[in-house]
Amino acid sequence: MRRTVITLRVNGETHSLDVEPSTPLLYVLRNDLGLRGPRFGCGLGQCGTCTVLMDGRAIRSCMRPVSRAEGEITTLEGLSADGELDPVQQAWIDEQVPQCGYCQNGQILTAKALLDRNPDPSDEEIRQGMNGALCRCMTYYRIQSAVRRAAEANR
């Protein structure tokens, strides 16, 4: 097995890491960089709990080899700038969305990417855009309200 030094840009900082290149990005973010936003849910690209933004697009870090994590990675921790919450995060608090909260990293980042792409989504577009992010506490109803609220705040 080949080890190489991998360079990662995460939340505005550059890291050089000596890890096996095929390692899923998720484990590097969690175990080498100590981040808590992305979490393991399935490791199969099916649930979204491991979501991070890569150049603004929501990707599933459990499926992405660290060697192919090019570009600027943003995790949940990196979403707030200078202690100021992103409007999406604020909407999540205002709507009191999370129950256990385990899936909410994926929900918030999926919503963030959705709203960056489509600042004024219809209800149907919200359902479709969010559909791959699963929640077993079933907070979908509040999540969708929070996405609408964040869209309004952005306006």
Binding site: M1, E20, T23, P24, Y27, R30, N31, G34, L35, R36, G37, R39, F40, G41, C42, G43, L44, Q46, C47, T49, T75, L76, E77, L79, S80, L85, Q89, W92, I93, Q96, V97, P98, Q99, C100, G101, Y102, C103, Q104, N105, I108, D123, I126, R127, Q128, M130, N131, G132, A133, L134, C135, R136, C137, M138, T139, Y140, Y141, R142, I143, Q144
Partner: protein, 800 residues
């Protein structure tokens, strides 16, 4: 519990320890020998006060139980006048912690943001059992209120001494006591006791009865209770700062993964360790009986090792269980476990149901099938165990940390005082973490290895091997008289619930089963029919368990799943009431109200009044138009209908109306709107309650429309989100209305109780949906889940 050494000779073979590991028998024998010491990881004293149970590094028992009969175990006032509360509950995301803090602040007369609350640490919080049964608000918060009220009383006494003024001439507001006649004379709680112990003894035969001398406040004096205080745990869940149980990282910690038998009941023959020895970071393979785990330095290495490990398994000769296709035929055909033997309750009979059925003007009969359903938590099981200094600290999201501690101590043969369990946030609990396997596994491996171990289950493992809600096959017969009154009801349930997994029992957790440990005897689930308050003069109710050839080491092991048995029994009961209403050509709401108003002769007036109130409230909020079901079907591709269902759980009454759209071409069902009328007595946090009910309803929709554990005759084939679908964003209702009802016959009473809300509404969902589909289409759905294929097949068969 049967230890391996007590097994008959044949079993010994399966227990031959893997060479190089300490055998289970050895560590059971040597369990008396420990290096004493105090592990400081994760422990911090609070507010400069040595907490009960904080122990001294030199003491023999570092983690004794906090004494519930000491006020100081529950509550600390700091020098700055803030307070920390300690409660022995956990919070699965329903706002239990916030609500308990509201209640304790109210009793103490302290502003909500001047207090914090610590939950579920066996070394710091009194044993209130952790979570389960939606009892935190109903039962445990009452003890917590009394304790906080007692603290306030003692503070008033201290102020009375300081000011030399009788306590009843003092006023209290938000942590400041003043002399009523001379408001300038004040003392804060911080000045009165900050940083010091109360040293006040409480009374009570058990933790639930804990009380001081003070009484709790009457409802009208509660100010924080009743407010939608935002949940304190949400900001850290939204900005990524929360440290979850999955995040615990300790110096020297290594990563473990399990390797599960590929067939249920398989026996491990051999392991070829050379298949993984060259994986970088590989540390060890552990094997005992049929339990196998690998440990590596890094997480991805452990995953690779678990996937690459070459093992030889022997398949059992007898199929362990029927396939999920044949399940209900099997259950109806099997001889159930003996009734009235203590393992299956005797039938409950009122009146003479057989005679009443024989004499009825018409008899309605129907059978309902509910499959095994899993928890399938969004995050698979996980835990970190630290064996430093001969102790064992387990970081876990187990909802019952106290039994987790005693279970692990028993499993490892350690004195409980040397084990502590620290509850941390994790994915949904709902009963799954009442027997959190990962904590036992992490502790076992950590103990064997002498290093902190992080155990994490994979997705396929969690979906296939988590504890399951049992399958039910329920047959009902009902008799109606000429006027359409129900004169008899005969309920017979067969439940696939032979060896129910208890709360963190050292002999029923999965690792124990795989190691060959067996409980003295299995604990078949029994239980009763649907909880409702209908007045039906002649009834029989019988629930009996059936067993499969494989009772242990099975992925179909049953455990508590949110509102255990409630959704299954209520699906059958409330669907059947609807069937009888249709047979009587009656409106489903009116029909139910008639059954609820049938009598006031028994002692259940209180329950009936509250049941009637929720049924009426749900119908009114929905805009229910009285008419029999089904409606005239429409012509278009989308058929719409409405259905009602009602349930009673412990002391909470619920009625739910669902409005559905059925796509007659695809069979897809969309629950467009739900109205839930809910009476759980005094409401502590309305928004928190609404969120909890919304979660219950949507979880109910998911179980009704999608969830089923599937298996062939060898193994569970539901292993991920494709093979075990769940509700998604696409399915969320357009509108959910929660109507909070107070149907208490004396609604303004000063001691209005606060009942549980974490589960009761869940049970009403399946029948509400099935009844709405019947209203829309005229077709009865008697087997859940209602995936599009099944709905389409039923519609086609009925020509609808």
């Amino acid at each position: 519990m049967k230890r391996p050494e007590e097994f008959p000779a044949g079993m010994e073979e399966a227990l031959v320890p893997w060479e190089g590991s300490t055998s289970r028998r050895d560590f059971v024998k040597t369990s008396g020998l420990f290096v004493l010491g105090f592990s400081s990881v994760g422990f911090s004293g609070v507010g400069g006060i040595g907490r009960n149970g904080s122990g001294d590094p030199g003491e023999a028992n570092p983690y004794p139980d906090p004494d519930y009969l000491q006020l100081d175990s529950w509550l600390v006032v700091h020098e700055d006048g803030t307070a920390t509360f300690y409660v022995g509950k956990t919070d699965g995301g329903q706002g239990t912690g916030t609500a308990m803090r509201q209640m304790m602040c109210d009793e103490l007369d302290l502003a909500y943001d001047r207090a914090t609350l610590v939950m579920g640490r066996t070394d710091m919080t009194v044993d209130q059992g952790g979570s389960g049964g939606s009892d935190a608000i109903e039962r445990d918060a009452l003890a917590a209120r009394r304790v906080a009220a007692e603290a306030r009383r003692v503070l008033l006494e201290l102020a009375s001494e300081r000011f030399e003024v009788p306590a009843d001439e003092l006023a209290v507001s938000e942590g400041v006591i003043s002399v009523a006649a001379e408001p300038a004379r004040t003392a804060t709680y911080g000045q009165l006791i900050g940083g010091r112990r109360f040293d006040v003894a409480l009374t009570g035969r058990n933790v639930n009865e804990t009380t001081g001398l003070a009484a709790v406040k009457p409802v009208r004096e509660l100010k924080i209770v009743g407010q939608s205080v935002p949940r304190y745990d949400i900001p850290a869940k939204v900005d990524g700062s929360l440290e979850w149980a999955v995040d615990v990282r300790l110096p020297g910690m290594v990563h473990a993964r399990n390797v599960r038998p590929p067939f249920a009941g398989a026996r491990l023959v051999s392991i070829d360790e050379s298949s993984v020895r060259d994986i970088p970071g590989f540390i060890r393979v552990f094997r005992e009986g049929n339990y196998v785990a690998v440990v590596c330095e890094r997480e991805e290495q452990a995953i690779q090792a678990a996937e690459s490990l070459a093992l030889e398994w022997e398949q059992p000769e007898t199929a362990p269980f029927p396939s999920s296709e044949d399940l209900f035929d099997y259950m109806r055909g099997a001889t159930p476990v003996g009734a009235g033997t203590g393992t299956s309750p005797r039938p409950r009979v009122e009146g003479d149901p057989d005679a009443a059925l024989a004499g009825a003007a018409s008899v309605v009969e129907a059978g309902y099938d509910i499959p095994f359903q899993g928890h399938t938590a969004i995050g698979p099981a996980h835990a970190v165990a630290d064996p430093s200094d001969g102790q064992m600290t387990v970081y876990t999201n187990d909802m019952k940390p106290y039994s987790h501690r005693t279970g692990i101590a028993e499993f490892l043969g350690m004195p409980p005082e040397r084990v502590r369990v620290i509850w941390m946030e994790g994915p949904q609990l709902y009963g799954r973490t009442a027997a959190d396997d990962a904590g036992f596994e992490a502790a076992y491996l950590a103990r064997e290895l002498g290093r902190p171990v992080r155990m994490q289950w994979m997705r396929h493992e969690e979906t296939a091997w988590d504890t399951k809600g049992p399958a039910f096959a329920i047959d009902l017969r009902g008799g109606l008289d000429d006027a359409g009154n129900v004169v008899a009801l005969d309920y017979r349930a067969r439940i696939a619930n032979y060896a129910h997994v208890g709360y963190n029992q050292a002999d029923t957790v999965l690792i124990a089963q795989l190691m060959g440990i067996r409980p003295e005897r299995p604990s078949p689930g029994g239980g009763r029919g649907p909880d409702e308050m209908y007045h039906i003069p002649n009834r029989r109710e019988e629930t009996r368990a059936v067993r499969f050839p494989l009772a242990f080491e099975t992925p179909l092991r049953t455990g508590n799943l949110r509102d255990p048995n409630g959704p299954q029994t209520t699906f059958a009961g409330e669907s059947f009431i609807d069937e009888m209403a249709a047979a009587a050509n009656a409106d489903p709401v009116e029909f139910r109200l008639r059954l609820l108003r049938g009598t006031t002769e028994d002692d259940a007036t209180f329950r009936r009044a509250r049941s009637i109130a929720v049924v009426e409230a749900a119908a009114e909020a929905f805009g229910w138009e009285p008419r029999p079901s089904p409606r005239e079907p429409g012509d278009g591709p989308i058929l719409t209908g409405r259905g009602i269902s009602y349930g009673y759980r412990v002391q909470t009454a619920v009625a739910t109306v669902a409005e559905v759209e059925v796509d007659r071409e695809s069979g897809r069902v969309w629950v467009k709107r739900m109205v839930c009328a809910h009476d759980c007595g005094l409401v502590i946090n309305p928004d928190g309650l609404e969120s909890t009910i919304q979660g219950n309803l949507l979880h109910g929709i998911s179980r009704t429309l999608y969830e089923e554990v599937q298996f062939d005759g060898e193994r569970v084939t539901s292993v991920d989100w494709r093979t075990h679908p769940t509700l998604t964003h696409r399915d969320a209702p357009e509108q959910i209305d929660v109507v909070i009802v107070n149907g208490d016959p004396n609604p303004d009473r000063p001691d209005l109780p606060h009942y549980g809300a974490g589960e009761p509404s869940h049970r009403t969902v399946p029948a509400a949906i099935a009844n709405a589909i019947h209203d829309a289409t005229g077709v009865r759905m008697r087997r859940i889940p209602l995936r599009p294929e099944r709905v389409l097949a039923e519609l086609t068969a009925a020509g609808a």
